[in-house]
């Protein structure tokens, strides 16, 4: 999965969860809670939505590491990379 693909996937899910978020202003440093104003339920719905869309399991222990958009993108790219 490329970074662009990961970013598009996450943004698509965000639009579904929080339609009023201006996704055109979301950059890598955007914090889901502090800047996009998602509460814990919204964030959970985003994570679950992305997991279901991509088939990538995202355990709860990783939630703190993906609270910024760019970090979530990196997480998906890394999780989807083939292991050797």
């Amino acid at each position: 999965m490329s970074r662009d693909d990961a970013a598009r996937t996450i943004l698509a899910i965000i639009v579904g969860v929080a339609p009023e978020v201006g996704v055109e202003f979301v950059d890598d440093d955007a914090d889901f809670v502090d800047e996009l104003d998602l509460d814990s339920m919204d964030f959970l719905n985003v994570v679950i939505g992305v997991s279901e869309r991509t088939g990538i399991a995202i355990p709860e222990r990783d939630y703190d590491a993906i609270r910024r958009f760019g970090d979530f993108v990196s997480y998906l790219v890394s999780a989807d990379a083939p292991s050797h």
Partner: protein, 175 residues
Amino acid sequence: MEQRILPAALIAKATASAARDHPSFNGWWRHGQLEQAEAVHLGIITSLRDGGLVALVVGNADEKDLATLMDELRDLVSRARGNRLRSSDVSDATLSVTNLGERGVDAVHGVIHPPQVALVGFGRIRERPAVVEGTVIGRPLVTATLAADHRASDGHVGARFLATIEASLQAPEEL
């Protein structure tokens, strides 16, 4: 994927279970008297992004396990955000709960939504000093408040109601 249970679900289940045990807080004041509801349909006050509040109703909330309640809550919030609520989603609450913790509020002094006779408010969960067996340690604590119709109940039974909620939250594995 493993399911995460948010504090909102714990709070909802604890409140619903307590309402079952304290029926004077579960119902409506109508026609000059308390009409105790047979079921516990919990109204969960939720903010809408374009402003305003809505009470999302989880029917028979006391009978549902945490996982089911969490799923239902997620679905309701998701549909509320997307303006896809059905009339049944916002109807017939027997009491309400409001959780303003994520908005940075330590305590809520709520107001009941008539004809309901009770509203339980929760502030944010914060690590605070607590004395445990004579030692001061940090514990996650939350302030719960009760707004109630004094025609249907009084402070004494209200205190017992809150104590029941507290006991449940102290043992979440039993919810």
